[in-house]
């Protein structure tokens, strides 16, 4: 098998895909919370993706991604047997896992993918683990069965009410936080706006909250500073100091602004590649 070959590919929806890549050195070393940088082809951009799972024996790592621009579009068009130009990892610090007591793991959209290995590790560390996962609509919900298998309790929401609670994951999180059993730790991974509101809520209840940030990156090894984020008033490089931070200390406004830096170019590039390949 060739390095960085696609071993498995499964569409979850039209926009969301699961892939398993052959990268035995990463599969062997990676820990929950770490990510990879990929480059699809020789003219490709470097983008970070969190590792959702790994099979050290088969030498594969699993990723989930949503098609949002050129790189993820190109990736979605590759098939089993084809290979990526580059896969670098495992990068970033692993999640700090310990027996906190009662842990709530909150995931939104494809954020459930990186949340899964963390939830699993929290459970294995002896925590009472509650999962809350959500998506825009039922078809976009991923890893429900996997999460159910490792959580003591799993709650689900969809924005449109097509499955589970109609509304947001924060509605469900509030219910859990209002229960008499004290929650010791929250982990939240998903769209920035979701993480921001989760943190606002857990701040009210004074529950420590870890978030995993996914800013724009180039090298992913601490060399460029593209991924700088402000945490507790200090500048951090997400790739080497993160990707996980104390959500209550993150400057969310800055984080969300910096994600828009290349919006125009991204749209242009995405339009051109779709025209060139006859895609939608």
């Amino acid at each position: 098998m060739e390095m960085f070959e696609i071993v498995k590919k499964r569409p979850i929806t039209e926009e969301v895909f699961m892939m398993e890549l052959f990268a035995p050195h990463i599969a062997k070393k990676r820990k929950a919370g770490q990510f990879i940088i990929i480059r699809v082809d020789e003219v490709g951009e470097r983008i970070p993706l969190t590792i959702a799972d790994a099979d050290p024996e088969a030498g594969t790592i699993r990723i989930y991604f949503q098609v949002v621009g050129t790189t993820t579009y190109k990736l979605s068009r590759l098939e089993v047997g084809q290979r990526l130009a580059d896969v670098v990892g495992p990068l970033g610090r692993p999640t700090h896992i310990e027996n906190f007591g009662r842990v709530v793991c909150v995931g939104g959209g494809v954020g459930v993918a990186p949340l899964y290995p963390i939830t699993k590790a929290m459970k294995e560390a002896g925590n009472h683990t509650i999962g809350i996962i959500g998506a825009r609509t039922k078809a976009l919900l991923i890893l429900e069965d996997e999460m159910r298998a490792i959580c003591d309790e799993l709650l689900i929401s969809t924005d449109d009410g097509s499955y589970g609670h109609k509304g947001f994951v924060t509605d469900l999180l509030r219910q859990v936080l209002e229960r008499p059993e004290k929650v010791n730790q929250v982990v939240a991974i998903g769209p920035p706006i979701m993480m921001k509101f989760v943190c606002k809520l857990t701040k009210e209840f004074n529950v420590p909250t870890i978030v995993s940030l996914n800013p724009i990156m180039v090298d992913g090894t601490g060399m460029c500073g593209a991924c700088r984020v402000e945490v507790g008033g200090e500048t951090k490089f997400c790739c080497v100091d993160g990707p996980e931070f104390d959500g209550h200390a993150v400057n969310w406004e800055l984080f969300m602004q910096r994600l828009t830096a290349y919006r125009e170019q991204e749209q242009l590039s995405y339009k051109l590649i779709r025209e060139k390949t006859g895609g939608k």
Binding site: E45, L91, T235, L254, Q257
Partner: protein, 466 residues
Amino acid sequence: MAKVEPRVPMREQPPKERIKNFNEVPFGYSVEEAQREAARCLQCKNPKCVEGCPVEVNIPAFIKLIREGDFRGAIRKIKETNLLPAICGRVCPQETQCEAHCVLGKKHEPVAIGRLERFVADWEREHGVEMPQCAPPTGKKIAVVGSGPAGLTVASDMAKLGYEVTVFEALHAPGGVLIYGIPEFRLPKAIVRAEVEGLQKMGVKFVYDYPIGRVETIDDLLTRFDAVFIGVGAGAPMFMNIPGENLMGIYSANEYLTRSNLMRAYDFPETDTPIVRGKKVAVIGGGNVAMDSARTALRLGAESVTVVYRRTRKEMPARAEEVHHAEEEGVQFSFLTNPVAYHGDEKGWVREMECIKMRLGEPDASGRPRPIPIEGSNFRIPVDLVIVAIGTRANPVIQQTTPGLEVNRRGYIKVLSEETMATTKRGVFAGGDIVTGAATVISAMGAGRRAARAMHAWLCGELKIW
């Protein structure tokens, strides 16, 4: 004393033309020009120029061979001690090294040693590169971490001595700063690629996308290799930590240059990596990296580019040639000026840079006059792109994951002696910017050479280190 001919100038792209492309600026000498320049060398019996060369190239000897038209002989002579002449001929600060010691330079212009070195290296690339003789295999294995100038030198020297060498690189291409940092117009990437291909022909293996410290530790490598060389550079960019520095449109020079050089953002949307194309650009800092950033910004369509430096022209660490090229191309300089804050718009983009005027005070630890802010002299200038080129520091990932590897206060790896470049950890050597802090390509190569020599002696049991 006979009449001294003037130094032969090197033809180059006119400034107005070259700011529209990324092609190399100087064209290099023709055969006739090279021989004419070589004829200026006095062939000193006790050559001072060699003392100025960190790798002690036998300069008068190779120049004599050029004069005689034996270019093959000249390149062989250089390669006895310098592995990467095409690169050194272009990016070495000759004016403070070999050429600074040239006897001719006392009254006239020194011999253009760098240009002659470049000439023979380019001649060799056109006429076929000779493979060096490798010693019979020793059966021992060497890991080199990082494929910049220090790592490439160790790889070459050890391969020649019969070792099986594997180079581990975190990025997707080899060369380190030669590929991500130095722009095409100063060092064409084809030259770096040719050097790496030469090493591959000698049997050196390159493994890309392999960040040591993450995917494997130095201790992991020591289970598979007989010795390890760490040449990872000082790759972490510094910022000034002033208000507004995280606004969009503010880059570290590393990010800006990596986007342009390594990711070829100048070809966007043909390539996928975008870059901010500023109209009013400020570059903070006074070194070669600042010049590279400023000149890249011009080529990416800037209307005005200003280098902002807190001392004066005299204290600028950049090479005179780079400053000269930048000025010719229209880069402006604002000396005795330092940014104190950036101001943005409601969307988070940088719009203004607030600066303060400086004056020079007493010399500081570096021996240069200390810049002192002049209270109340703040002023603002409009900017839409800022590139912070104030230096780099050690990336802590390897040190954090390698017990027994001692570092100094600033995070650079300690070596037991400059002669061996051996670290405090058995079997591990280090060299280049990760030991000294940001320095030059040639000094990194010099360190690599010394490390390789000591590594070989240690592996043969001729030298006791630990």
